[in-house]
């Protein structure tokens, strides 16, 4: 079984926000009107933040950015607090969200120290035209509804490492009667990344690109001290 992981090289990132946009179209994240965005209700599973320079520190005045998908923690604080098991870590280490079961209590959103979880304050809406170009993919099962499936109002959603792409890749391998290879699947943000700053692969395979990069001296994880053991790993600038 694979243990999926993403490495983001901040040295190569040009902050083009291509990952954000690719994620939006891949996963049908709703677009909110400007006044809603003003309130802080915009939805970007893969958000790009400008880092504030330290005051009076000339050396840190260079513009710096951080792109932030879900950390897919090994010990996810959001999964612990979910009262109904709507969010869970699957056997490949991906933290998933079942829109069909979520009761909208927003416990996970306040428990996540990374703020990667988003709540549907209203039913999602798309502008005229955009609604004809939604991604038809979805992950369904026994009372499950995941991935890019259109969310109802009042549920929580989050980055899934494009779980539907994994399902499709596995299905293709099965249809062709061969073994599934970990390099057959990457999330949309990794595929689109302009600076080729994002890497994706299996952390259990010692030869995979993410395993090798995670051992680099530049490698770090966000809030390592929180004990969440993220599987989204960053490579420091410089």
């Amino acid at each position: 079984m694979a243990r999926w992981s993403m490495v983001i090289d901040l040295d190569k990132c040009v902050a083009c926000q291509g990952c954000s946009i690719a994620c939006r179209f891949e996963n049908n994240t709703p677009i909110v009107p400007p006044e809603e965005a003003e309130l802080g209700r915009s939805m970007l599973w893969n958000e790009v933040f400008p880092l504030r320079a330290e005051e009076g520190d000339v050396a840190s005045e260079k513009a710096k950015f951080l792109t932030r998908p879900c950390m897919h923690c090994e010990n996810p604080p959001c999964v612990k607090v979910c009262p109904v098991g709507a969010t869970y870590k699957d056997d490949q280490g991906i933290v998933r969200q079942n829109y069909a079961r979520c009761i909208g209590c927003r416990f996970c959103t306040v428990a996540c120290p990374y703020g990667v979880r988003y709540f549907n304050w209203y039913a999602p809406q798309w502008e005229e035209g955009l609604d004809r170009h939604l991604n038809p993919d979805r992950v369904t099962g026994n009372k499950d509804l995941e991935g890019p499936a259109i969310r109802p109002r009042g549920v929580v959603e989050k980055c899934t490492y494009c779980i539907h792409r994994l399902h499709k890749a596995r299905a293709r391998a099965e249809a062709e009667g061969r073994e599934f290879r970990p390099d057959e699947y990457v999330p949309a943000c990794v595929q689109t990344c302009t600076g080729k700053a994002r890497f994706f692969g299996d952390l259990d395979d010692p030869d995979s690109i993410v395993s090798r990069l995670s051992q680099e001296r530049r490698a770090f994880r966000l809030l390592e001290e929180a004990g969440t053991h993220p599987k989204t790993i960053y490579l420091q600038e410089g």
Partner: protein
Amino acid sequence: MKTAWHPENTYESDILAPVKKATAVDWWLWIGLLAVVLAGLAAWVRQYILGLGVTGMNRPVYWGVYLTDFVFFIGLAHSGTFISAILRVAGQSWRAPLTRAAEAITLFSLPFGVASILIDMGRVDRLLNVIVYGRFQSPLLWDFTAVSLYLLSSVVFFYFSLLPDIALCRDRLMDVPGWKHRMYEILALGWSGHPEQYHRLEKVLDGMAVFMTMVVVTVHTVVSWVFGMTIQPGWHTALIGPFFLLGAIFSGTAAVVIVLAILRKVYHLENVLPVTLFNSLRKLLITFTLGWIYMIIAEFLTTFYGNLPEEMEVFWQKFTGDFALIFWAMVILVFIVPLAIFVFRGKNSIPWMVTASVLVNIGMWLERYIVIIPTETRPRLLYELVQGRYTPTWTEWVITASMFAGLFLLYAVFTRLFPIIPLWETAETLEHEMEPLKRRPRRFGERKASA
């Protein structure tokens, strides 16, 4: 029809007077309160149809006024259990006249605590998922267990102690409307006032008081753990449980003072609710005020001294940041002014006691707000990336107002249906009526009961 035996109570007619008839003022009050409740209901229906976007909640302030209401109402509910259960266990007999008035606060504010949570849910239509897919690792399940057990137990505890008085209403109030008498007949469960019944009732109430004391401690601690179990700065502290519990009993006891003063004035119960009762409550309230400031100092000094960056973000939000006005208002309303009033003016003065108690309750609502919101505006990672703001919308205020109106309405209607002062617990004769069954050996020097 066979009537039951009832213990003698000198003030029986005083206590029963409000139950006999509702006045025109009552009806106007009820209609007014009902209008507010219906306004809140309409606001909630609108919110349910449109989505939680009609509130001011956002990212990262995912929890707002509704969670504040939840914690506040559950806290208010602790009044009754504190007065009737904890003081019963402690053998404080002065509490007898005010037990029911206090327990009624418990009974009628708990449902609004539960309602706050339901109003806050994005998908309240999926409520049953909590049973079908409930995971016990989530503190919300602990809440579900504790709060529902608490609600059930307080209804039962309240009803048991009401039983002899319902029977009394059934036997004494003959000129009430037919439906009302019928209600007493059904609810009295054929209570006959047999000494053995009283004996068993006392035994059960004593036992349940011990159990209720444990439940009350559990409930408010578990409520605080919804916040405390996350790793967010400002919430993740071991003190949050005891702090919430103390605050709950504090605001609850203050609420009892307000309610007693109103009952005393409106229903002319000056004889039954003497000013000495308020003096006893005053002593408790002084203790709680000092306990509260102790908790505040213990909490904030630890944070300040430790000086962890993400904790300090939240700390300064409260002391000098966006929430400074509310924070200092809270300190003045909960601690400085009430303590001064309780100590210097409260003795033998009901108006001063009520003033201070109202301030305490406003301040305690603000305290719940201050515990919940500032932490969310400065989450652990995002405090340097995204800073939250939160302004509640009219929907949240209308729904909050309607829940308070609902609490008053239920209370007001209840006082017109059942005696709000326990007749049998304040009766003079009960003790020695039961003596033969208790078989208590007569102590040296004790006078023989006159049969």
